[in-house]
């Protein structure tokens, strides 16, 4: 670990987060959008862990666990919603699911 500078972790974290944003903005499929969100969460997790390691404090780890728990719960709820949507609409394209608009 000593060979890898801290910045690399952070850069990787930023790249992951930006990929997540890009995916969220440009993909149409709900499942892909969902995965992009997970990617953003994990990018953040990585920076938490990095700082926790750097400053020798446990807070970052605890945050990461919380984020993982929330992400798991969110995945369960989100996937259930996606299934229901697909059952009712036979589509997963977000642009077609806009009956709340207007």
């Amino acid at each position: 670990m000593s060979g890898v500078p801290l910045n690399w972790y952070l850069i990787l974290s930023a790249i992951l987060f930006c990929l997540g944003i890009a995916g969220f903005l440009y993909r149409r499929n709900i499942i892909t959008i969902f995965m992009s969100i997970e990617l953003m969460l994990n990018g953040v997790n990585l920076s938490f862990v990095t700082f926790s390691y750097k400053f020798k404090q446990v807070d970052g780890h605890i945050f990461t666990f919380f984020v993982m728990v929330v992400a798991a719960a969110e995945a369960a709820v989100g996937l259930a919603i996606i299934l229901t949507v697909f059952k009712n609409r036979q589509t997963l394209q977000v642009d077609d699911i806009n009956s709340m608009k207007n």
Partner: protein, 615 residues
């Protein structure tokens, strides 16, 4: 004995009749209305008896109303000898008029409303009289003004009645403006509103050095008094106030409320004694009002209008008395005037009642045989107000005139001429009403006992009330000026009274053609006086029209419609415009929102980077 029940009884009566009167039978309304005033009267009698001689004022602390920094306003009631006189007048005469009103109003609509207002008036009047500081006095002062407005406009379906109510209220605002300024100045000068503290502080001031601010206070108090007590230049509301029911004219606009200005001036006697200039102004205004109103009263044809101008004139006498330093004589005249003027109005009400609502003297005549009791009591009031020897009016008016003679003889002479005019116009009205042939068409009938019994009581009081020696009773508070005048000066007002009655008899009984001839030979002067010197028209042109026009163009069209509405509508239009632009952001597409979130985050990050990350 506690003082607080005195005003509370009428207040309770007001609440009962005002809240539930619509569903109550008339007998209950009568009992509540008259009973509450009766209780009040009895409480006054017993309280005064238990308080004894009242050499010093008895004060009762109820609660602290306003406490702010060094400013304290207590609701305290206080009774001294002056208050005792006023309490007896207000509750005594008030009780008689309430009883009378039961008969007079029996055929009128809004019965419970009338009596609840009347009781509310009694409450405020008693607060005014019992108040032990200027602020509480002002509360009562405004309260009676409110009730006056409500009762003048009692027949609110008639345009003239509501107009008269408005006029009474608005003209009184001018006076009250002066009064409130006076109260502010009193606070500035004495740092207290309390009568006892203010007057004991004022007593210590030398006359010469204090004259500036004390004179200002007194003149402003006088402005208040001219409004409430209908003196020049604010008297114009009182004649119009006759649009109200006659018991109201008797109670509020003759016996009690309009004398509040005199009471307030006498209460502030210590201040006025330190402001000789203000005293002179009071005397001159009083005298001018007395003469001026009496001259208008000479030619009016509406019986209530005659008595209304007579009231203005008699109030002028009271101010003359106060202004020349005969404070106790002024209060004495308040009392005797309450007796005979209440009687005149109630009698006039009885005549109007008998004639089915007609108030025009030209349609009366010969009523002496048809309504003898009313006629007899009215003649008692007539001789009292004319100041014939041994009547109550003579006792008080002569004291005032003697004091005026000691102060300045010309005031005495003008006052005596006015006394002659008073006798003339009152007996003109009485002769036109009761002698000669009946000129109307309605069949007159005598009023019921509930109406003539109060008349009889007041008639007795009008005749013998002068033997109640008010100046002697008030001597410890208000020193009596022993005016040392010759017997001729004492007798001349009697002569003026007899002369006035004699002239009225000649003019209106012996040869009724004389007045018409006089009127046509003095055409211009007659028209001037008949039209009340066109004062209403002058005020209308000089004050009312400009104010209305200014309000319409500047305040309404300019300030209200332009500025206030403009800014309110402008704020609305601005919000609408901004909203119209911001609405475009709400596209409904999740990815657009997400893009905005990212965009915002980037902006925030750049901003943090620019300011250095908070370090």
């Amino acid at each position: 004995m506690n003082l607080w029940p005195i005003p509370i009884f009428p207040l309770a009566g007001f609440l009962v009749n005002g809240l539930f009167g619509r569903r109550l039978p008339k007998a209950v309304i009568n009992t509540v209305a008259v009973g509450s005033v009766l209780l009040s009267f009895l409480w006054v009698v017993f309280a005064l008896r238990s308080l004894g001689g009242l050499e010093t004022a008895f004060t009762e602390h109820l609660f602290t109303w306003i406490q702010s920094g060094s400013l304290t306003v207590n609701v305290d009631f206080s009774v001294d000898r002056l208050t005792a006189v006023m309490l007896m007048i207000v509750t005594g005469v008030g009780l008689l008029i309430h009883i009378y009103a039961v008969g007079y109003m029996s055929h009128e609509g809004g019965y419970y409303r009338f009596f609840s207002y009347l009781n509310l008036f009694m409450f405020f009047m008693l607060v005014l009289v019992l108040a032990s500081n200027f602020v509480l006095l002002f509360v009562g002062w405004e309260g009676v003004g409110l009730c006056s407005y409500l009762l003048v406009g009692f027949y609110f379906t008639e345009q003239f009645a509501t107009n008269a109510g408005n006029k009474a209220f608005i003209v009184n605002r001018i006076g009250d403006f002066g009064f409130s300024l006076a109260i502010f100045l009193i606070w500035r000068q004495f740092h207290s509103f309390d009568f006892a503290q203010v007057f004991s502080a004022a007593k210590g001031l030398p006359v010469e050095t204090s004259s500036g601010i004390i004179t200002a206070i007194c003149l402003l108090l006088l402005v208040g008094a001219t409004g409430k007590s209908a003196q020049i230049p604010l008297y114009v509301w009182l004649p119009d106030a006759m649009a109200g029911p006659t018991p109201v004219s008797a109670l509020i606009h003759a016996a009690t409320m309009v004398t509040a200005g005199v009471y307030m001036t006498v209460r502030s006697a210590t201040l006025f004694l330190h402001a000789p200039v203000a005293m002179d102004v009071v005397a001159i205004i009083g005298l001018a009002t007395a003469f001026f109103a009496a001259s208008i009263g000479l030619v009016q044809n509406d019986i209530k209008k005659v008595f209304a101008y007579s009231t203005v004139s008699q109030l002028g006498y009271m101010f003359l008395g106060v202004g020349v330093g005969a404070f106790s004589a002024g209060i004495f005249h308040v009392m005797t005037h309450a007796f005979f003027k209440a009687l005149l109005f109630l009698g006039a009400g009885s005549v109007i009642h008998a004639l089915g609502g007609d108030q025009d003297l030209r349609n009366m005549g010969g009523l002496l045989k048809k309504i003898p009791i009313t006629a007899a009591t009215l003649f008692c009031a007539g001789v009292a107000i004319a100041g014939l020897p041994f009547t109550s009016g003579a006792a008080s008016k002569d004291l005032i005139l003697e004091a005026a003679y000691a102060h300045a003889p010309w005031m005495y002479w003008l006052g005596t001429i006015t006394a002659g005019m008073t006798a003339f116009y009152v007996f003109r009205a009485l002769f036109l009403c009761f002698l000669g042939d009946y000129r109307g068409h309605h069949h007159p009938h005598e009023s019921p006992a509930v109406m003539w019994a109060p008349l009889a009581v007041l008639a007795v009081l009008s005749l013998v009330g002068g033997f109640i020696n008010i100046p002697n009773w008030l001597e410890p508070m208000l020193p009596v000026h022993e005016a040392d005048v010759g017997s001729l000066i004492k007798l001349l007002p009697f002569a003026a009274g007899f002369l006035g009655i004699g002239l009225a008899y000649v003019f209106y009984v012996l040869s009724p053609s004389i007045p018409d001839k006089l009127a046509s030979s003095l055409g211009g002067l007659y028209r001037l006086v008949y039209n009340k010197y066109f004062v209403d028209e002058i005020y209308d042109a000089a004050v009312v029209k400009p104010v209305v026009q200014g309000s319409r163009t500047v305040l309404w069209k300019g300030v209200d419609a332009g500025l206030i509405d403009g800014s309110v509508n402008g704020v609305g239009a601005l919000a609408q415009g901004v909203g119209g632009i911001l609405r475009l952001l709400q596209s409904g597409s999740i990815r657009a929102y997400a893009a905005w979130v990212v965009f915002g985050s980037v902006i925030v990050l750049i901003a943090i980077g620019l300011v250095g990350g908070g370090r």
